[in-house]
Each structure stands twice: as structure tokens, then as C-alpha cells.
């Protein structure tokens, strides 16, 4: 490493550095935009193939026209790119080979042909076979250029800038079409777009970009700049405009970082750029907020902890036989769940912090559920048993197969999903094993208040009101108007005492006894909106 790490910005190097970085950024931006579409459409490896075979086009153009720059090279290389795609398509459509084998055969053949031509006519071609693989970003700055405001800027940079500008223009003009083709080919085809044309157009644009950046970064590193920034952006966002922006930004960042590395360690600039791009991808792979490896591991860890906590709660609830005031020995719980001591203690501490269990120390260490813990236990029981009911009634599994599945699912079912399930299953009272399914309270804030449809036969209480529209349950959007008319028709009033007799045998309705004497049928839809505050002290009709 040079003594002064910033010497690349000293007057002796500043111009070359700036020009090289500018070129790198232009390549990165053009490739970054194209790359987004490549990876969205599954064209990453076709892109790889094209950027290799463009060599053949360049060699042919140089042999025919005798010059290393110029329009002929662009035409020839773009044509070679298209020929590559057509050959791949033809091979894969007209023979039993799959696309991957077709890509492999076509690109190795055309590339080998390019290398052979290059070696045979080496004296005429003025291209070095080695350099055409590595790319030489460093030499761009020493190429002849045009003066702009007293600074000489190589022609290659202008060319690349033009390519990037054309790409930007095409993206802006065809944004809608490209978006549709990338995400829904069928729809695109059905509204009269031609996905094939867009595919060829895009691959032609790729060939053009590959030629423009060939000398600077070489074919393999074009692939790096195509795929790595776009893939990084893909891990960071789910929105296409953001992805395009991020991809260009990450590509440019790789160009800047790569050039600095190459200067400090005097190594290949193009290679460093590719390494920087892949380094940034690795960072995103590990650290991306939603899709990163660490975020994923953290999510899995949290789920495991939650599962452990909830298993303890359910076990205590079960061992205390539904009477939360009874304590359960820690030893027993830990043994039943086969938890090692340290993990058990850790989980219990977190349960105590949440206020779901109390720990007693006399005579032996024991656990007791608090009110909050009891609510949790019932919530879990409810999810577990409803899922079992679903598996047996709807999916058609046999009763002895559903427990393990429910054991897993109870920890991940959201409360909303459980309520939906309950609704869809018609508010069952018991699960397939015959165990009662706990009712769900309207909310934790109003203990003892239930929706009427979720009460069991024999439950007694007083009518406490109606489910507020669109609030208490997001999924039932009952209009209260007809409900009120119906309530008036049935003669129900606030504070009236009700006792549930059970389901009506034929229709979807509940049979309840109002004011201990009048037996009426309440339709299911109405029972879903009436709130009842349970009160076991009310006189029962049977007494």
C-alpha cells in the first residue's frame, strides 16, 4: 500500500483517477439498470453468455474493418449477441436439450471461436486475448479523448455515457411495458405487447453495453456488474423503481471502492470492482433488514423462544388441570417438556417479565399462571383445537394424525386467523378429541364479555351491547341496520339475562332462553354481533 492512501487524488493521479472512476460508474449504472431486468426475468445466465460471445463480434469487426473502435464493432457485437440468443432459443426449442445445456454449448463454442480467431490473427487484431478476459479499466484514462472545459476525457467515456443515457431513455419511455413483461408475461402478451420483442430488445441493449464496457471490464466482470448490484438491490427492496435506483447506486459505490482498492494494492481495477460489488452483495446477504441471513436467524430465534414460552404456559395450564390458582412444580414442567435447565430458567424469567406466571419458592420451586397467563393459555388451546378441528373436518385427516401439526401451528397462527377459522368452521364447541374449545373474549380489556355465538350450552349472562361495526372484528363487516331491526323483532334489550341452550338442530341459529322463560332462536349472523357479559350467579332455568 502506498504511504499516503489518498495519493490517488494527488495532482499527478487526480485526472486519471477521476476518469477511471467516471468510466467505472457509467459501466456500473448501465449494467445495474439492465441487471434488474435480467434477474427479474431469469435472464442472468443468458446475459452471462452474451457478454462472453460479444468477444467474437468484436474480433470479427476488428478483422473486417481493421480498427479497434468505431461503429462497426458495435454493430457486429450486437449482432453476435442476438445470434447467441437465437441459437440458444433454437437449440432449446428444436431439440430435447434444456435451456441450461443450450446456453452452455452456445456460449462456450462462440467464445472459443472468438479466442481462436483472436490468436490466429493476433498481429492484425490489436487485441490481447488475456486483456479481453480481464478487462483493463486502468488504460481507459490513457486513451485518446476530447477536450471538455480544458480536461481531456477519453472517447470511451463518452460512448459509455451515451449508452447509459439511451438506456435511461428507453427505461423511462417503456417503463410500463417493461414492468408488465417482467412480472406478468401472460398478461403482457394478452394485452397485445410482445414479450419476445422486449426480450430481444433487452438482450440487444445488453450486447451494446457489453461492447461499450468490454475494454474496460472484460466479459466476466460485465456479468459481475450486471448481477451483483441488481441482486443486492433485490434483497433490499421490493419496489422496482427503488431497485433500479439502489442497483445503480450500489454499482457506482463498487466502482469507487474497487478503484481505491486497486490503486492501493496495485491490482486489477476491473477485478477489484467486481470484488467490491460482490462484497456489497455479501453485506446485504447478511444484514438486509428483511431478507438478510441475520434478520432471518433472528426471526427464527424469536419464534423458537416464543414457542418455548408458550409450551411452558400450556404445560402449566394442563398440569394444573385448568385451575390456575394451583401451582405446578418446576421440575415437573421442565421434565415434561424435556428442556435443559438453563433454557427452562431463561424462558421462565421472560415469562415472569411479561407477567404471565408467578414463581413460588416454597416448599419447592413452582409456577402458577397469572390472569394474563391464563388468557394466553386459553388462546393457545383455542388455536390448537380449532386447527385440529379444521384438519379433521375440512382437510379430512384422521383424528390420530392432527395433534403434532396443531402443536406446531398454534404458535404461529395470528389471532385474526384463528377468529376467521372459528367463523369458517361455524364456531365449534369441541375439538375432534372431545375437548372443549375455549371461547375468545372480545378483548383483554373487557374480561368476561363474549360474542353470543361463541358461548356454550349452559352459559348464563346479560346482554352487554353490540360489536362495534368495523372495529372489534376486522373480518365481520355486518351492517348494524338490519341487525337492530332483527333485535327489536326478537324483543332483546340491553341488560336482559340470557341462557344458552345450544345450537338449533336444523338451521344455523342458536337457541337461547331470555329472562329465564322465553325460548327464542337467534340467527347465526345476529349471534355474531351480540355481546354477552357472563355471569354465573344468575339463576339457571334448570334450578
Amino acid at each position: 500500500m502506498p504511504e499516503n492512501p489518498l495519493s490517488l487524488w494527488s495532482p499527478a493521479f487526480a485526472h486519471d483517477s477521476a476518469v477511471t472512476i467516471l468510466m467505472g460508474i457509467l459501466v456500473a449504472v448501465a449494467c445495474g439498470w439492465l441487471g434488474c431486468w435480467m434477474i427479474l426475468q431469469g435472464l442472468a445466465l443468458v446475459g452471462d453468455a452474451i457478454s462472453h460471445t460479444v468477444l467474437l463480434g468484436i474480433v470479427i469487426a476488428v478483422l473486417v474493418t481493421g480498427e479497434v473502435t468505431g461503429i462497426g464493432m458495435f454493430v457486429a457485437a450486437t449482432l453476435t449477441g442476438l445470434v447467441t440468443v437465437v441459437l440458444i432459443d433454437v437449440l432449446h426449442v428444436s431439440s430435447r436439450l434444456k435451456e441450461d445445456a443450450a446456453i452452455g454449448i452456445v456460449f462456450t463454442s462462440l467464445f472459443a471461436l472468438g479466442v481462436v480467431l483472436l490468436t490466429v490473427f493476433a498481429s492484425r487484431a490489436h487485441i490481447d486475448a488475456q486483456d479481453s478476459i480481464y478487462g483493463k479499466l486502468e488504460i481507459v484514462a490513457s486513451r485518446p479523448g476530447w477536450m471538455v472545459g480544458g480536461v481531456e476525457i477519453p472517447i470511451a467515456v463518452f460512448r459509455m455515457a451515451a449508452i447509459a443515457a439511451v438506456l435511461l431513455g428507453l427505461i423511462v419511455v417503456f417503463y410500463k411495458e417493461l414492468l408488465l413483461v417482467a412480472f406478468d408475461r401472460q398478461l403482457a402478451a394478452s394485452v397485445g405487447m410482445r414479450p419476445h420483442l422486449f426480450r430481444y430488445g433487452m438482450l440487444a441493449a445488453l450486447s451494446l453495453t457489453a461492447v461499450g464496457s468490454f475494454e474496460a471490464v472484460g466479459p466476466v466482470l460485465v456479468v459481475a456488474m450486471l448481477i451483483a448490484p441488481a441482486a443486492t438491490a433485490y434483497l433490499l427492496t421490493r419496489r422496482l423503481p427503488m431497485m433500479l435506483f439502489l442497483s445503480a447506486l450500489i454499482g457506482s459505490l463498487s466502482a469507487v471502492i474497487g478503484y481505491h482498492i486497486s490503486f492501493w494494492f496495485s491490482v486489477s481495477a476491473a477485478g477489484s470492482m467486481a470484488c467490491a460489488a460482490c462484497g456489497l452483495f455479501s453485506l446485504a446477504f447478511l444484514l438486509a433488514p428483511e431478507q438478510g441471513l441475520i434478520a432471518g436467524a433472528w426471526r427464527r430465534l424469536r419464534l423458537r423462544l416464543k414457542t418455548g414460552r408458550e409450551n411452558i404456559i400450556r404445560r402449566v395450564w394442563k398440569l394444573s388441570a385448568g385451575r390456575p390458582e394451583i401451582g405446578v412444580a418446576s421440575r415437573e414442567v421442565a421434565a415434561a417438556l424435556a428442556l435443559p435447565g438453563w433454557r427452562y430458567r431463561w424462558l421462565v424469567r421472560s415469562l415472569v417479565r411479561r407477567g404471565w406466571v408467578d414463581v413460588a419458592h416454597e416448599p419447592a420451586e413452582g409456577l402458577r399462571l397469572t390472569d394474563g397467563g391464563r388468557v394466553q393459555a386459553q388462546r393457545l388451546d383455542r388455536a390448537h383445537r380449532l386447527w385440529e378441528t379444521f384438519l379433521v373436518d375440512t382437510v379430512g385427516l384422521s383424528v390420530d394424525h392432527v395433534h403434532p401439526a396443531a402443536e406446531e401451528v398454534e404458535h404461529v397462527l395470528s389471532e385474526q386467523l384463528v377468529e376467521r377459522l372459528d367463523d369458517a368452521l361455524g364456531h365449534p364447541d369441541i375439538d375432534p378429541h372431545g375437548a372443549p374449545i375455549p371461547r375468545s373474549q372480545v378483548s383483554d380489556q373487557t374480561p368476561g364479555v363474549f360474542v353470543l355465538s361463541k358461548l356454550r350450552a349452559g352459559d348464563r349472562g346479560r346482554i352487554a351491547g353490540l360489536v362495534p361495526p368495523f372495529a372489534a372484528s376486522a373480518f365481520s363487516t355486518h351492517d348494524q341496520g338490519p341487525a337492530l331491526v332483527e333485535i327489536a323483532r326478537l324483543g332483546l334489550t340491553l341488560g336482559q339475562s340470557v341462557e344458552v341452550r345450544g345450537r338449533a338442530p336444523t338451521v344455523a341459529a342458536w337457541v337461547v332462553v331470555v329472562d329465564t322463560r322465553r325460548e327464542i332462536e337467534i340467527p347465526h349472523a345476529l349471534a355474531d354481533v351480540i355481546l354477552v357479559r357472563l355471569d354465573a350467579s344468575l339463576p339457571s332455568i334448570s334450578s
Partner: protein, 419 residues
């Protein structure tokens, strides 16, 4: 020209030690890559080979940097480590992100290759690096295969062949029907990783001869060529070994004659030539064979349509003769061209042409009845099973009457006994 000839003779007389070891080396590669390539192509993993091929470059460079010389052992170790790391990374990216497999391959390929180029540019600045010959690894130089390389290649080839033969059944089942393989208890994932590891080994021993950029061709092209020639896995494996061997030696030979050309691209081009031949002239799946089959079928259809026209133009069911003029009406044809069209039918012994009368022979009459019957059977099928309206069935039935096989006809007859 005389010089080229003498070089040619020199090559095939195997006087040169370097020619001997190069040819021997390429044959070993042909065996290893031919064996593995078949499974790789069948499993649609072709581009994994490309990815791993590019990915060994940094490993090779690191192996060189350890000793500062081109010691095959260290280079081999570095390359293997890089290839295995690359395949692990590919698997990790596929598993832990929503990126598609091709993106994972491209990422690993370009990232590793970029690192390789950085290291290579570093090495070329070292004094020992000037003559390292590492740059030859890009496109391969078979003449530089040393005796130690050969031992290594031989060992690896032996391991690969032994491993493939030992797990042949498992490899075959997991390649063709992964779901079935799992149900009968084959550890599909272990087999997959075994194949990846073997591929990494095959690639590492191939880079000396064909170079990192093109090494995938040695895996893909012979196997793809064999796939176009046969339907049997055993035959495919043997064929791909033979193809790889022939193309490898031819490529070497040309490279030797020209004295300047890198061997890798020439071997690849020779392989491509083999593939092109199989693609065009393969007896079953070749383009020419398929065109010929299609043409033969079209001709047969024309002939049989004419036969049916004659049959339907017969004045009564017992009659066997019809005037030529009654056939020229619908569709309108000149009598001369009709005569020309009738010629193949006469050759087949279906009709005899006597002056202005067409005479249907026994063979012709029975074939015509058969066609008519096929037509009606298929029409029945279309109306009954496919439930096409009766006025829509004619064209389909006309196309298919020529194609129905005897088994199919029998089945249709059983289905509609009163037809």
C-alpha cells in the same frame, strides 16, 4: 504443407513426451467429464459447471501464492477448496434468499472470477509470477501437462469413475425422478452434494488442459451430444466418454499443428463440431431425420388421400373401376398431373392404371377401407369423448386417419363395437 504433415506424423507417432502426456491427460479428462456430464445435463445443472470452472481461479492463485511455484499439489488443493466453497455459497444463496438459482450461479461465478483476476494481477507483479504460466490457465495449455499432473488426473478420474459406478442407480433415479427417489429412501441431497463435489474435482483437473473459462464445455457438450443420440443412460455415458475423447484428441492435434493456438478453445470447437453433427444428422433426434420423417408423413398423407378419393368415387360397393375423368372434377386437377400423382400408388400396388380407367387392386381396396374405418372411428371418438359438435370433427379426423396405429384402432373398435 509438408511441415504440417510432418507435425501430424510426429503427433500420431507419440514420440514427444509432451504429446504423450497431453493425449493421455485428455483421455483421462474425457472419462471423468463424460461420466459426470451425463448426470449434470440430465439434472439441468449444466451451468453449475461453468460457475465452478470460473470459481477455481482464486483458489489456483492462492495455491500458487503459498509456495511461489506452480506446485500441482498446492494448486490442486486451492482449486478444490475454492470450488467447494463456491458450491456451498451457491447453495446458501439459493436457500436463504428469494434470488433464483441462475442469479446465485452468476453471482458466485463473477465474484470468484473477479477475485481471481485481482490475485492474478498481483502475481504477475511478483518475480516468480512472470513465468508462472498461470495465465495459461485461462484458456488451457495441454502440452504443459506434467507427469505429476498425470498422476493426479489419473487418481481423480479413478475416484470419479468408481464413485459414479458405485452410486449409478441412485444417480440415475434422482436424476429422472427426484420425488420417487425420496419415497424409496435414497438420500437425494447427499447424492446431489456428491455430484457437486465430483464435478469440482473434474473441473480442477481439467483447467490445465482446457482453461477455466471453457471447462464447462467439456462437461456439457459431450453429454448433450450423447443425449441427442440415445435414450439409454448406459449408452449415453459411454457415448459421451467416446465423444469427449475423440474431440479432445482432435483438438489437441490441431493445437499441436499450429503450435500457437491454445488447446482449450480448439478442444471446445471440436466438441461443438461433434455436437453439430449429432444435432443435424442424429438418426432419431437429428434435424435432417426429423425433416425427412415429416416429409415422408406428408407424402403418405397425400397418397392415402388420393386412394380414398378413388375409393369414394367408385360407382358401387362391388365396383373396382373408376374413370380417370371422374377424379379430375373435385378438386379440379388436370389429367396429366393426376396421372403423375397416381404413379406412387401404382408402385405400391394399390391401383392399376389402364388407359382412362383406374383399377383399384385388392391391397388398395383394403387399405382404403381401413382408412375410411379409421376416419369414422376417430370421428366417433371426437363426438363421444371430446364432445365436439358433429360438424367440427371432419378436419381432425382426416388428419388422424393416417396416423392411427393398429393398437389404437383396436382400442377404438372395442370402445365402439357396433361401428
Amino acid at each position: 504443407m509438408a511441415e504440417v504433415w510432418s507435425q501430424f506424423v510426429r503427433f500420431w507417432s507419440f514420440q514427444d513426451g509432451s504429446v504423450r502426456s497431453a493425449v493421455f491427460g485428455v483421455l483421462l479428462l474425457a472419462v471423468s467429464c463424460g461420466f459426470l456430464g451425463c448426470f449434470i445435463v440430465l439434472r439441468r445443472m449444466s451451468l453449475v459447471g461453468d460457475s465452478l470452472g470460473h470459481a477455481v481461479l482464486p483458489g489456483v492463485c492462492l495455491g500458487f501464492l503459498v509456495t511461489g511455484t506452480k506446485d500441482p499439489t498446492w494448486i490442486f488443493a486451492g482449486a478444490i477448496a475454492a470450488a467447494l466453497l463456491a458450491s456451498l455459497l451457491i447453495a446458501a444463496i439459493e436457500r436463504y434468499t428469494r434470488l433464483k438459482p441462475d442469479v446465485a450461479l452468476g453471482l458466485v461465478l463473477s465474484g470468484f472470477f473477479g477475485l481471481g483476476i485481482v490475485l492474478l494481477s498481483r502475481i504477475s507483479r511478483l518475480e516468480s509470477g512472470q513465468q508462472s504460466g498461470l495465465d495459461k490457465l485461462l484458456f488451457g495449455q495441454a502440452s504443459a501437462v506434467s507427469e505429476r499432473d498425470l498422476w493426479l488426473m489419473g487418481t481423480v478420474a479413478f475416484v470419479i469413475v468408481a464413485a459414479v459406478l458405485a452410486t449409478f442407480k441412485e444417480l440415475a433415479v434422482t436424476s429422472f425422478d427426484p420425488a420417487f427417489a425420496r419415497t424409496i429412501g435414497i438420500p437425494a441431497r447427499a447424492i446431489h452434494y456428491l455430484l457437486m463435489t465430483l464435478t469440482a474435482f473434474a473441473i480442477v483437473i481439467s483447467i490445465q488442459a482446457v482453461g477455466v473459462v471453457l471447462v464447462s464445455a467439456l462437461l456439457i457438450t459431450p453429454a448433450a451430444t450423447a443425449l441427442l443420440l440415445t435414450d439409454r443412460l448406459h449408452v449415453m455415458v459411454l457415448l459421451s466418454v467416446v465423444i469427449a475423447a475423440v474431440a479432445g484428441v482432435v483438438g489437441l492435434n490441431i493445437s499441436f499443428l499450429s503450435n500457437r493456438l491454445p488447446s482449450g478453445p480448439l478442444v471446445v470447437l471440436a466438441l461443438t463440431a461433434c455436437f453439430g453433427m449429432a444435432y443435424l444428422f442424429g438418426s432419431r433426434y437429428g434435424v435432417v431425420a426429423r425433416i425427412r420423417r415429416r416429409r415422408a408423413r406428408a407424402l403418405q398423407t397425400c397418397r392415402e388421400n388420393l386412394l380414398k378419393r378413388i375409393f369414394l368415387a367408385l360407382p358401387s360397393s362391388e365396383a373396382r373401376q373408376v374413370a380417370l375423368s371422374s377424379l379430375t372434377q373435385h378438386p379440379a386437377t388436370s389429367s396429366d398431373s393426376l396421372r403423375a400423382e397416381l404413379r406412387p400408388l401404382t408402385r405400391l400396388g394399390w391401383v392399376d392404371l389402364e388407359g382412362e380407367t383406374v383399377h383399384l387392386t385388392d391391397v388398395g381396396a383394403s387399405r382404403a377401407r381401413e382408412l375410411d374405418r379409421n376416419y369414422r372411428l376417430w370421428e366417433l371418438f371426437l363426438t363421444h369423448e371430446v364432445r365436439l359438435p358433429a360438424d367440427h370433427t371432419q378436419r381432425d379426423a382426416e388428419n388422424l386417419e393416417h396416423l392411427l396405429t393398429p393398437e389404437l384402432v383396436r382400442e377404438l373398435e372395442e370402445r365402439y363395437p357396433d361401428a
